[in-house]
Symmetry: C2
Subunit: 565 residues, 2 copies
């Protein structure tokens, strides 16, 4: 296996123009985002820039998506803040060092999962849980940014504390800050809603108009810097600004975490890894499908793992594939990860020479860009759909969102996962079972309550619509006992196993008991339509041997044989 | 609904003799057990006797088993000790008060589960996890009793500490204590193994011989009391004895726990409730089956909940249905819970008038009865069976047992539950899928790799052997994509849903995407053998509407229709 990625070995000249354009546009979009998300994570702004260089290159070497744009994202930034805030004071070197360690541990986990092909771990996060988690996080993030819009100081230990603090601090609102923040907010909302429509009506091609819209945050940044710098609002009106952003490329260094640090950070690191992976793969997959490309989840694990380790190596913090910037990258014509490499190079240039330009950038404007970005993450559609399709999923979603808002990101997502596993077991513990009969004139058997079918007296054919395992084995036993009690003429019971995909040890025990207890009462047990993999295991057990000759390929075969008997 | 239980309203005279005999025999068996298990729980011996009166009566009123014997049991006693030891010093009034609260909270939970019909919660505990838990607990209990056999003091913070302490304390062994303990142990083992055989050979009916064997612990208790009292071994040889056991019925009182106590005890209380419920129901069920009776799990929850609240009310600690004593109760001819009421009355008599008799009872003899009782709980058969049938179940079992031994009962069982849920999701995340074709001359379709079947060119029929949900939806998508990539002639894909019992929101999303992405490539998607409950939900969704006319009752119908098309 060559270390050079495939896209690079077979690079075609025709791809270059698209990759260069996309790299440039994404960089312009990334600059305000990187600064803002670093602030959201409780880190100095330059850390956001650091996290937007090496990780992109690392992903380009190992990842499988042609268009995914990796870097700091809103949700991972919030998770970083919530993981480190209890351990260190934001703004200190210790805090930044812990963010590096978090990224390192998270990256090492992703790499390990990739090597061990454990991508399935991400499947523990159902779509409703993820949707609830992101919606909840977006609400928490937006509320947390309001203090920057108002220019006040507010404690942020919990959402409730923050809200209370905001109300109490209202009288101290810094009017100039609020004006800048609200102005940017309105500009960004209007730009997002109407700008591309206006541009199109002015004769601009739709695609170009769409892309220009994405540059609105940069316009807000430049305009606000100009206003603050000219009026020296930082002095005259005490508008809080970013201030000195150290110039120069990040130092490359890496301290391995001690055992106690690993003990404190492994859970948030794992959650950041999984959430980041799920989000990233779903973005990558939806973009790949549009161009008939494919995403290899295990390669994604390697790519994201390498990206996070690269982020740690260069003083950054946890990164993952971002939705908005990947879409822009794709729309701007990115053909390969070279677009990302271009963007990384441009970003390095910015850090090496232009950080002075951000001195007058007001925090309120960064807060406005964050709010506009996360409000679009609030997802009521999934809730609405789930509510109509599957109430339990909708409840998992809401519980996760409320859990995140009321109790923080970690508790919220763990609650969501526990709830969705609980729902899974609960559902499986009450399996659908149907007594079946033959559809006249066919060899097909259906539910006697839903279809008009033929049955044979004394023969009970019960279809179990679920794998048999610890949570539902006794439900089957109860149902058979009930049916036999209800019809004393039953002499043969056929379990139709077309939907039984597994029989675990607990269920095997229950079936063995059921067989013995039926036999005592002169009722014989038979199986039909047992799947290959299930039969392979069953035949070597006591039950398998006891049932020899009474396992039929189809219900039809069972009916024919048992009717004759 | 009358409050008088059914067995009492329809009580028949013929049942009385059996109930009286069983009540008497169980009481004789219960006395040493109750004293010993209270000690195991870190409580004064009389607490064990208290827990053997009111709880039995409460269960008789609300439970559904005719023969279950409720009271202190080994595993719940160990769980009680492990829950309270970190909070209070064994032997203090505070410790005893916490045991009462634990019983109260556990009972309230059981009652609540019963009222809300949440019996399914117990299904989270698979058979291998329970088996591993009990085996691990038995090992921990047996090791913990060795210090009483040796007559030494040893720290018991962990199994490892205890073992180390035992080795270090060996030189301090109290020889008289060891002689009494080992003597009892050998007597009990020999009685259990050979006594009933000898008695039968001497002409005694097998059933009576079997029952007499169960009274061996009482014989050991009486004999050892006599030896110690006559030789005053408590003074001359410093043999540790039970000492003064307060005489008189327990005071009835109940202090509700404060919030902080609930916060400390809810998790162990929940685990004790669930483990106790599972054990109790499985004993009750296996006995009921022998007499064609039935157990109502929700009534069991109410019965056990009431028993634990009654235990708390009378100064006891958590109780549940015991295996050994229920079997003896059954074998001694108990016909109704009146046998338990008789035993409760006799036990009250003992407490009211004869506790002085236990003064000289050596701790070593109680330890011997505990060791003999728990060694029989060690269950290698389940491990052996699971190892041959289902490696993952066997690993869950071993992990739970080792977890209990190395890290304590709570961590052990939580690990087991997490592992069994993990195995469940992991298995479901890699569902078995088979491309199917028609068995010649039938309407039956089987795996093309296992059977010689007919297929139609351009038509791909894929059977998914699993419900579709968050953990496996993308695996289906990947498989379909792989199959289409492998055979470019495919124009129609039929998903055979005979084994799909549920489609959750996440999977619905994936199917909707798959349908759209296939359509773009000119491949149509159809479903066959969709189950009633699944179809009921599906038809109101966008996917359901898009698939109208392409959902077939059987694979045969789909083949016929699509071949013609």
């Amino acid at each position: 296996m060559s270390l050079t990625p495939q896209w690079l070995r077979h690079y075609q000249k025709a791809w270059l123009a698209g990759d260069l354009t996309a790299g440039l546009i994404v960089t312009v979009m990334l600059i305000p985002q990187s600064l803002a998300y670093a602030l959201l994570a409780g880190l100095p702004p330059e850390v956001g820039l650091y996290a937007s260089i090496l990780p992109i290159v690392a992903y380009a070497l190992l990842g499988s998506s042609m268009t995914l744009a990796v870097g700091p994202v809103a949700v991972a930034s919030l998770m970083t803040a919530s993981a480190i805030a209890p351990l260190a004071v934001a703004g200190t070197a210790e805090y930044a060092a812990l963010a590096v360690q978090l990224s390192l541990i998270s990256g090492a986990m992703l790499l390990a999962f990739g090597v061990m092909r454990l991508g399935f771990l991400a499947h523990f996060l159902s779509h409703p849980v993820i949707s609830g988690f992101i919606t909840g996080s977006a609400v928490v993030i937006a509320i947390g940014q309001l203090k920057h819009l108002l220019g006040v100081r507010v404690p942020s230990s919990s959402t409730w504390e923050t809200l209370k603090g905001l109300v109490l601090a209202l009288p101290q609102t810094n009017v100039a800050t609020l004006a800048l923040g609200l102005g940017s907010l309105i500009f960004l909302v209007v730009a997002r809603r109407y700008l591309s429509g206006w541009l199109v009506r002015m004769g601009m091609p739709a695609k170009v108009a769409e892309l220009l819209t994405k540059l609105a945050p940069m316009v807000a940044v430049i305009a606000s810097i100009a206003v603050v710098a000219l009026a020296r609002l930082d002095l005259s009106a005490k508008v809080s600004v970013v201030g000195v952003v150290p110039q120069g490329l990040p130092h490359m260094e890496l301290a391995l975490p001690g055992l106690s640090t690993v003990g404190q950070l492994w859970l948030p690191a794992l959650l950041i890894a999984l959430v980041g992976f799920v989000e990233s793969v779903s973005v990558a997959q939806s973009l790949a499908l549009k161009r008939q490309q494919r995403i290899a989840p295990n390669k994604e694990l390697l790519g994201l793992g390498a990206a996070n380790i690269a982020s740690a190596l260069s003083g950054g913090y946890p990164v993952t594939g971002g939705f908005a910037r990947s879409v822009v990258n794709f729309a701007a014509g990115a053909n390969t990860p070279l677009a990302g490499v271009v963007s990384a190079a441009l970003m390095a240039l910015v850090i090496a020479s232009m950080t002075g330009a951000f001195y007058y950038l007001p925090h309120a404007v960064l807060a406005a860009t964050i709010i506009v970005a996360v409000v679009s993450l609030v997802d009521f559609d999934t809730l609405k759909e789930a509510w109509h399709y599957d109430r339990a999923d909708a409840l998992s979603l809401m519980a996760t969102a409320l859990g995140v808002i009321a109790m923080g990101v970690e508790v919220g997502i763990l609650m969501g996962v526990a709830l969705s596993l609980g729902v899974l077991v609960w559902r499986s513990s009450r399996p659908h079972m149907a007594v079946v009969g033959r559809v006249p004139g066919t060899e097909h058997f259906r539910n006697i309550e839903r279809h008009s079918v033929e049955t044979v007296p004394g023969l009970l054919a019960l279809r179990v619509d679920e794998s048999l395992f610890f949570a539902n084995a006794s439900a089957l036993e109860d149902r058979v006992e009930d049916l036999i009690r209800a019809d004393a003429t039953v002499r043969r019971v056929v379990l139709v196993c077309s939907a039984v995909n597994q029989i675990d040890t607990t269920a095997l025990g229950v079936l063995t008991e059921l067989h013995a207890s039926l036999a005592k009462r002169g009722v014989s047990l038979a199986l039909a339509e047992v799947k290959g993999p299930v039969m392979d295991r069953l035949q070597h057990t006591a039950l398998g041997r006891a049932l020899q000759g009474r396992v039929f390929q189809s219900v039809h075969a069972a009916f024919t044989a048992l009717r004759a008997a």
